[in-house]
C-alpha cells in the first residue's frame, strides 16, 4: 500500500514539476500574477509530493516490505532500525529520490524566501527549477523507480552493503546531495538573469546566500565522506583522487570560485558574465558528478549503486540541461553590461587571480578524472590516473593560490596598495617562517617540500589573523585594553568573521594534509598472542582475540595494549566483522586520538605462524595531525554558515533592494 502511495506521489510530483515550469513561463510571458502564483504553488506542492514519496519509501524500509524490489536488494530484518532507515538512500533509486527531494526542496525555498525578488527573475528561476525537476523526476519515475514491486516477496532481503552501515555514511549522502543540488538554485538564478538580460549587484546579492549555503553543505558532505573513508576502509588514507571523490571536488572548486567572484559582482558590479558562467558551471559539475558516480564509466573505489545503462540517460540529462544553459549564455552574455573598471592591483584583481587559479585547478582535476575515459575511447587501452598526476598539476596551482591569498583581503577595491598590504603582513610572514623553521627542527625525518607547504599553512592562519587585527585597528590600541579589543571584535560584521574563519580553516587543513601525507608511518607485522611490535613511539602488544556479536554481524576482536614511550598505556580493539547476510567481511579500525595525531590500528587476516599457533596481521598507522585535515574544512563550513547568518546577506535574500534597480529589472 505504501509503495503504491509512494509511486503515485512520485508521478504526481513529476506532473507538478511540469506545471511549475509551464505556469511560471506563461505567467512571465503574459505578465499574469495568477499564473505566476499557480506556478509557485505547483513548486511547493511538488516538494510536498516528493516528501510523501520519500516517506513512503522509508516506511517500506522500516517495515521491511520485501514486495518492493529495492527493499529486497538493500535491507534485511537483522539490520538495526537506524540502518534500515538510511538504506532508503543507499541504492541507486533511493539516492536519486534523495536528489529529487533536495531539488524540489530548494525549489520550494526559492518560492518561500524569494518574496523580495523581481517577479520576472523569480518566475524564470522557478520555471528553471521546475524544468530540472521535470528531468530528474522523469528519470526517477521512468528509469529508476524505487517503488517497483516483485511478484513473489522473499522472506529475507539482501542487506545494505556492510561498509555503508556506519553513522557517518548514513548522514554523508543527505548533506552531500543538499550541497550538490543547492547549486541548482544558483543555476536557475543564472538562467533567469540571462533570460531577463540583467546581471547586476542586486542579482549577485540574491545569489550569494544560496551559493554560500550550497558550498557550506558540500564542504561538510565531502569532509564526512573523507572521514568515513579514513576510518572505515582501513587503508589509513583520506583522499585517493578517485573519480568519485573528484566528482564532488569539482563542483566544490567551482563553487569556491563563484563565492569569490560573486563578491566582486555584488560590491563593484564587475565580472558579471564570469559570475553567471560559474553559476552555470557549478551545477553542471554537480550533474557531471551524479553521472560519474552513478554510471560506473570510471573505475572507482567508491562506486556505489552503479548502473551503466541508466548512466547514459543521466549523461543525456546533463547534456540537455548544461547544453541549453551554456547555449543561452553564449547567446545572451555578450549583451550583459560590463561592470566597473579596476586596476590589476586591487581587491578585484586579487579575486580574479583567485578565480583563475581555481578554474585552472578544476580543469586539471577534470582532465585527470576524464582522461582514462578518453584514452579508452581512442586507443582502447585501460589506464588509471592517480595521485602523482594530481600532485604535479593541482599541487603547484594551489600553492600559488594560497601564497597570494592573505594579501587579497588587505587590498582596497578599485586600486590597491600592494606595498602597504605587504607591510601589514610582515609580522604574519615572520611568524609563519618562524613556525616553519621550528617544525623543520622538531619533525624527523627532515623533508623540505612538506615543510614549505606547512609554512604556507602557518602563513594562511597568521595572515588571516593579521587582517582581522587590522580591521579592529589593534596596533593603535593601548596595551592591556582587552575590553576594547573584545568590543571591536564583536562589532565586526559576521561576513568578516566568516571569511577569516574560512581562510584559517584552509590553513589548518593545509597543515594537517602536509603533515599527515609526509610523516605518516605504516608498520605491519604478524603477531601471535603475547607478542609485541614497535610503531613510531609506541609498543603494541597483542593480548588476545575474542568473538563479539553485533546485531547483524559477528566479529573477531583483538585487544592490543599500546604503550607510548612517554605516557600512559591505552587499549585498542580493532575488529574484523563478518556479515552473514552478504557473506562479507569488513575491518573495524581502532583509532586512539593523541592530540591531533591518530594511532590507527587495523586487524588483518589470520596467518600461519612458525610455531603452529595462529598469528594475526596487525597494521599500525601513526597519522600525525590527521585530525586537522577534517577540522580545517569544518571550520571553513562554519565560516560559510556564519557569513550566511550575516544580517546584510539574509536581508538581501528576502527583501527588495533599492527600488531603482528593481523597476529596471521588471
Amino acid at each position: 500500500m505504501t509503495a503504491e502511495l509512494g509511486a503515485f506521489a512520485l508521478i504526481l510530483a513529476l506532473a507538478l514539476s511540469a506545471l511549475q515550469a509551464g505556469l511560471s513561463i506563461f505567467g512571465r510571458v503574459r505578465g499574469d500574477a495568477t499564473l505566476r502564483g499557480a506556478g509557485e504553488g505547483a513548486a511547493l506542492a511538488a516538494f510536498v509530493a516528493v516528501v510523501i514519496a520519500f516517506a513512503a519509501l522509508m516506511t517500506a524500509f522500516v517495515a521491511s516490505d520485501f514486495s518492493v524490489a529495492n527493499v529486497v536488494a538493500n535491507s534485511n530484518t537483522d539490520q538495526p532500525l537506524f540502518y534500515r532507515i538510511t538504506a532508503t538512500w543507499g541504492s541507486h533509486e533511493g539516492s536519486m529520490l534523495l536528489w529529487n527531494l533536495a531539488l524540489t526542496g530548494f525549489g520550494a525555498c526559492v518560492v518561500l524566501y524569494g518574496r523580495g525578488l523581481p517577479t520576472g527573475l523569480k518566475s524564470v528561476a522557478v520555471a528553471t527549477q521546475g524544468t530540472l525537476g521535470l528531468l530528474f523526476l522523469g528519470y526517477t519515475v521512468f528509469a529508476s523507480n524505487p517503488f517497483v514491486r516483485i511478484p513473489t516477496a522473499p522472506l529475507e532481503g539482501q542487506s545494505l552493503n556492510p561498509i555503508l552501515q556506519d553513522p557517518f555514511m548514513a548522514i554523508h549522502p543527505p548533506i552531500l546531495y543538499s550541497g550538490y543540488v543547492g547549486f541548482s538554485v544558483v543555476f536557475s538564478f543564472a538562467v533567469a538573469a540571462l533570460v531577463e538580460g540583467r546581471v547586476d549587484a542586486a542579482w549577485a546579492r540574491w545569489v550569494r546566500p544560496w551559493a554560500l549555503a550550497a558550498w557550506s553543505l558540500l564542504t561538510v558532505g565531502i569532509t564526512l565522506g573523507s572521514f568515513w573513508a579514513y576510518y572505515e576502509l582501513g587503508w589509513g588514507g583520506w583522499w585517493f583522487w578517485d573519480p568519485v571523490e573528484n566528482a564532488s571536488f569539482m563542483p566544490w572548486l567551482i563553487g569556491t570560485a563563484l563565492l569569490h567572484s560573486a563578491i566582486v559582482t555584488e560590491k563593484r558590479g564587475a565580472l558579471t558574465g564570469w559570475t553567471v558562467f560559474l553559476a552555470l558551471a557549478a551545477f553542471s559539475f554537480s550533474m557531471l558528478g551524479a553521472f560519474l558516480v552513478r554510471s560506473g564509466v570510471l573505475t572507482s573505489v567508491h562506486a556505489f549503486a552503479v548502473d551503466p545503462r541508466r548512466g547514459a540517460i543521466l549523461l543525456f540529462i546533463l547534456g540537455l540541461a548544461a547544453g541549453a544553459a551554456f547555449g543561452l549564455f553564449a547567446w545572451r552574455a555578450p549583451k550583459l553590461t560590463p561592470g566597473g573598471l579596476f586596476a590589476p592591483i586591487s581587491r578585484e584583481g586579487a579575486l580574479v587571480l583567485n578565480n583563475l587559479f581555481l578554474a585552472a585547478a578544476t580543469a586539471c582535476v577534470m582532465l585527470g578524472t576524464l582522461y582514462p575515459l578518453i584514452v579508452q575511447a581512442v586507443t582502447g587501452e585501460a589506464i588509471s590516473v592517480g595521485a602523482p598526476y594530481f600532485a604535479l598539476t593541482f599541487g603547484p596551482l594551489m600553492v600559488a593560490c594560497l601564497i597570494i591569498l592573505p594579501a587579497g583581503p588587505l587590498l582596497a577595491w578599485k586600486r590597491g596598495d600592494l606595498l602597504g598590504a605587504l607591510q601589514r603582513l610582515w609580522v604574519a610572514a615572520a611568524l609563519a617562517v618562524a613556525a616553519g623553521l621550528l617544525t623543520y627542527l622538531l619533525i624527523a625525518p627532515r623533508k623540505i617540500v612538506p615543510i614549505l607547504v606547512m609554512t604556507i599553512g602557518f602563513w594562511l592562519i597568521a595572515g588571516s589573523a593579521a587582517e582581522l587585527a587590522g580591521r579592529i585597528n589593534l596596533g593603535a590600541l593601548s596595551r592591556g585594553d582587552g575590553g576594547q579589543v573584545w568590543r571591536r571584535l564583536k562589532g565586526l560584521p559576521r561576513g568578516q568573521w566568516g571569511m577569516t574563519l574560512a581562510h584559517i580553516g584552509l590553513g589548518v587543513f593545509v597543515l594537517g594534509a602536509a603533515c599527515e601525507l609526509s610523516w605518516r608511518t605504516e608498520t605491519a607485522q604478524s603477531l601471535v598472542a603475547g607478542q609485541s611490535m614497535r610503531a613510531g613511539a609506541y609498543t603494541l602488544t597483542l593480548q588476545g582475540l575474542n568473538t563479539v556479536d553485533g546485531p547483524n554481524f559477528s566479529a573477531d576482536q583483538a585487544t592490543l595494549i599500546a604503550t607510548p614511550d612517554h605516557g600512559v598505556p591505552f587499549i585498542l580493539r580493532p575488529e574484523r566483522r563478518f556479515y552473514p547476510a552478504q557473506r562479507q567481511t569488513t575491518s573495524k579500525v581502532a583509532i586512539e586520538r593523541r592530540g591531533a595525531t591518530d594511532v590507527y590500528v587495523v586487524l588483518g587476516d589470520e596467518r600461519p605462524a612458525s610455531g603452529g599457533q595462529p598469528a594475526w596481521l596487525v597494521r599500525v598507522f601513526i597519522n600525525p595531525w590527521a585530525r586537522l585535515i577534517f577540522a580545517g574544512p569544518l571550520l571553513m563550513a562554519l565560516g560559510g554558515a556564519i557569513s550566511l547568518s550575516d544580517r546584510r546577506i539574509r536581508l538581501a535574500a528576502g527583501r527588495r533592494a533599492p527600488s531603482g534597480v528593481l523597476t529596471a529589472a521588471e
Partner: protein, 155 residues
C-alpha cells in the same frame, strides 16, 4: 576581460596537465596483454585478472604469493601486506606494482571489490577481448537493481 584572461590560463593548465599525464598515467594489462606488449620491468602498471584457484600461499613473514590469470596466460604475483577483505581464489582482482626482471609481479597494492558478485571492469573487458568471457553472470553490470559494489585496497 576575465574570459580573455581565463582562456590562455586554462589552455596552459590543460597543456601542462597533458604533459604530466604522460609520466604519471598507469596502464592496465591482463597477463596475456602484458606478455604481448613486453611490459618492461620496473614500470608501474596495473595487472588484473582472476586469482588462480589453489595458487594462494600465505607465508609467515607476511608476504602472499598468488597467480593472476586471464585463462590464456598467467603471472606470479608477490605482495607484502594485508589482502582486501574480499580477496578470494577464482575471483577478479586488480594489482598495482612492477614486474621484476625475473618476471614475477611485485604488487604494491591489491584492489578487490567489497562484494562477492564483483568483477573489475578492466578484468571483464580483458576477458572479453581474449575470448575467455564466461557470460555476464559475474559482471557488475548484471547485478540486481541497486546492488552495491565496493572496491578496497591494501598497501
Amino acid at each position: 576581460m576575465v574570459v580573455a584572461a581565463a582562456a590562455p590560463t586554462l589552455a596552459l593548465s590543460v597543456g601542462l596537465s597533458l604533459y604530466a599525464m604522460g609520466d604519471t598515467a598507469v596502464y592496465f594489462y591482463s597477463p596475456s596483454q602484458a606478455l604481448e606488449k613486453h611490459v618492461p620491468s620496473g614500470r608501474l602498471v596495473r595487472l588484473g585478472g582472476l586469482v588462480e584457484t589453489g595458487s594462494v600461499v600465505k607465508r609467515p613473514d607476511g608476504t602472499v604469493l598468488f597467480g593472476v590469470t586471464d585463462r590464456k596466460a598467467s603471472d606470479k604475483v608477490v605482495f607484502k601486506g594485508d589482502l582486501p577483505d574480499l580477496f578470494r581464489e577464482g575471483q577478479g582482482v586488480v594489482t598495482e606494482g612492477e614486474f621484476q626482471p625475473d618476471g614475477v609481479f611485485e604488487a604494491r597494492q591489491v584492489l578487490a571489490k567489497h562484494d562477492e558478485r564483483y568483477m573489475p571492469k578492466e578484468v571483464a573487458d580483458a576477458l572479453k577481448k581474449s575470448g575467455q568471457w564466461r557470460g555476464p553472470a559475474t559482471v557488475a553490470a548484471a547485478l540486481p537493481a541497486g546492488a552495491e559494489a565496493k572496491e578496497t585496497g591494501a598497501r
